[in-house]
Symmetry: C2
Subunit: 397 residues, 2 copies
């Protein structure tokens, strides 16, 4: 009986203890004392653990990580442009297999309970589709343990590097799930040009967009307006995400109100990593207006950032810490962003701990959802589609 499993004595979302019956990789039933009702099925004793759905890594760069390689000292890079250039310099001196590196980072995520990943992958005239091919190969190897969406990401800009738009389109044809973007004004200098180009590609191929927007203050706000306008015009509500959106933490309350309204009306979701070096985003205002928020690890031990460990529970802590969320309500919000928020942003079907959902789940010691965000306990068991894929931080497949 592949992908059949009985998990005894766990507390779904911190509620009362129950058993969970999994059939064909889906949650069949959750209830008390299911043991008597089934026989001959693989059984896990849950030891009164907390049971949560698998984490959703909403924003990572699988192709960039230097994880497990000899320590590489990062170069001083005050601006985004310099970071882009310095990444090229740092990587040029190293022998890096994108496929191998992406594999390491995917496995690290799985071992910590990640069931779904959205990764941006660099596309530019220098790299061509080589990074995409490497990450797609790594995705194929791990497909039974994690599902992965890939964003064709023009790290170095679109308009300033002729041929990039065509490469993005090639990437989508080759298997990328979404079209990316980066600071249409700050990096490309032609906000309308980049957005028109990327929305047109997305339209032609029926895929969504996930756009990096680091640009600060009103420059960022201006571009939220442009993105919202195009999202509505293309009927893309629910298919567009803005990643980072640092500007939302840098503008006045009236401007925040305007931005939140634009995002809500046009159905754009917002991703934050809880970047402690930038002002926090108005996450509660976004939630209250119905704007979907989610989170991700972003750069993990790469040329951009030495930080990061692909632990989405630590990410929930970092987002909460940046927002000074000390109440259960705030901690539960950042937990939701690392789980169902990401699932909704990625358009995943059957995500959650209800009957009929995919049996993607994590067992860990803890009292409440708020407590595990701050305590970040080890992941005892990670289940994907009804199969145990990791135990005590080690992969078992």
């Amino acid at each position: 009986m592949p992908n059949d499993l009985l998990i005894q004595n766990v507390r779904p979302m911190g509620g009362p203890a129950a058993d969970v019956l999994i059939r064909n990789g889906l949650i069949d039933r959750i209830g008390p004392d299911l043991t008597a009702t089934v026989a001959g099925i693989e059984t896990i004793e849950g030891d009164n653990c907390l049971l949560i759905p698998g984490f959703v890594e909403g924003h990572i760069h699988l192709d960039k990580t230097l994880l497990g390689l000899p320590w590489a000292s990062r170069l001083e890079s005050p601006s985004i442009r310099e970071k882009i250039d310095n990444e090229k310099i740092l990587r040029r001196g190293m022998q890096v297999s994108v496929e191998e590196q992406a594999g390491k980072l995917i496995r690290l995520g799985i071992s910590q309970g990640t069931s779904h990943i959205r990764s941006h992958v660099d596309i530019d005239p220098d790299l061509g589709l080589s990074h995409l091919e490497g990450v797609m190969a790594a995705r194929e190897h791990c497909k039974d343990a994690v599902s992965i969406q890939l964003v064709a990401f023009p790290q170095s800009g679109v308009m300033r590097l002729p041929g990039t738009a065509e490469l993005i389109e090639e990437a989508v044809k080759a298997g990328a799930d979404l079209v990316g973007g980066i600071d249409p004004a700050g990096i490309d200098g032609d906000a309308v040009g980049q957005l028109n180009a990327t929305f047109a590609i997305a339209e032609r191929h029926g895929v969504g967009l996930d756009i990096h927007l680091h640009d600060p203050g009103v420059l960022g706000l201006y571009q939220i307006g442009l993105i919202a306008e195009r999202t509505r015009a293309h009927g893309f509500a629910g298919k567009v995400a803005i990643s980072h959106a640092h500007c939302l933490g840098m503008i006045d309350d009236a401007q925040v109100g305007h931005a939140v309204e634009l995002l809500a009306e046009s159905g754009i979701s917002v991703m934050t990593i809880g970047a402690a070096y930038r002002p926090s985003l108005p996450l509660k205002a976004l939630r209250d207006a119905g704007v979907l928020t989610f989170s991700g690890s972003d750069d993990v031990r790469d040329a951009w950032q030495p930080f990061g460990n692909a632990d989405m529970l630590e990410r929930a802590m970092l987002v909460a810490y940046q927002c000074a969320f000390t109440t259960d309500e705030g901690l539960e919000l950042t937990f939701a962003m690392a789980t169902r928020g990401g699932a909704r942003a990625m358009g995943l079907e059957g995500y959650g701990l209800e009957a009929g959902c995919a049996a993607d789940m994590v067992l860990l010691d803890g009292e409440t959802l708020a407590e595990i965000v701050v305590a970040r306990p080890p992941r005892k068991v990670v289940v994907k589609s009804g199969r145990v894929v990791a135990r005590d931080g080690e992969l078992v497949v």
Copy 2:
């Protein structure tokens, strides 16, 4: 031979492999192949681990932690005043032994490599010296594994609660090592009054001061001026610390220059926790001007903050992350703040990895100091005064 120990094959501060000979709790020699030169001594195989001095926890509240107690939902507390009041409300409903709780948190720190702690301890007319007595009892229990300085901390203010100044003086007589303070303007409303009172107590008893300063912007800057003035007048250079000093991240460059000059001239050190919900401090400007900086865990799982785990290596990461320090130089700066910066601020003698220093040290897997800040590897062995006190995160005493 108590407190004699030979550690073979470690890399002090990430340098070349060496052996470390410890005699009577002090580092006797560090060099290659010391094995042949000694016999009959307890020996540890270091497995090419990185060797670093024990961490210095420069700012914690041992008396406040709710660690290990049933999860307590925090109350919404937008202001410092409300936090103070809500802590009283939350704790009133719980049975909390300060001695037991402080002991838990001290042991958690030791298990993660902390050798020295500076803890603030609440003193007010309601509590009297009860928290101090509890923490002093816990300190006594753990004295072979960690050294602890206590600050008599007027959490609820000095001037606004008559009798508090007298209690601080009682606390110093009873064993507190330093006089504390809190937002002389923002909490007490009488900046000069509080500072005159606390400096006078410190002067009478020949102890230093460590003052909480959360007050923002120019209100904080004003008080840095008052503290600097009194530090010089009392000849207290090297004996005064300002904790948090959020204002340094909130003022313009010219004001920062003025503040840094004041701090440098008067010999005041600055403690930060890398609070992600506030702008970062100008740590490199402080360093360049010769101002000593250090770090601490602050509130650990208490009524103020649900966050925290007394891991000073994680704290170094959080401080670096808040400052967007991605180069080795920046990561090494926050490592130094969590080690010798704190040691100097606490006035510790014989701190470090040189011959003659106290044998307080940590072995952990890692390539460089910068790498361990981001990777935060488990602490394999923790040594205090030449004795192994923890292995793999578990106390052995």
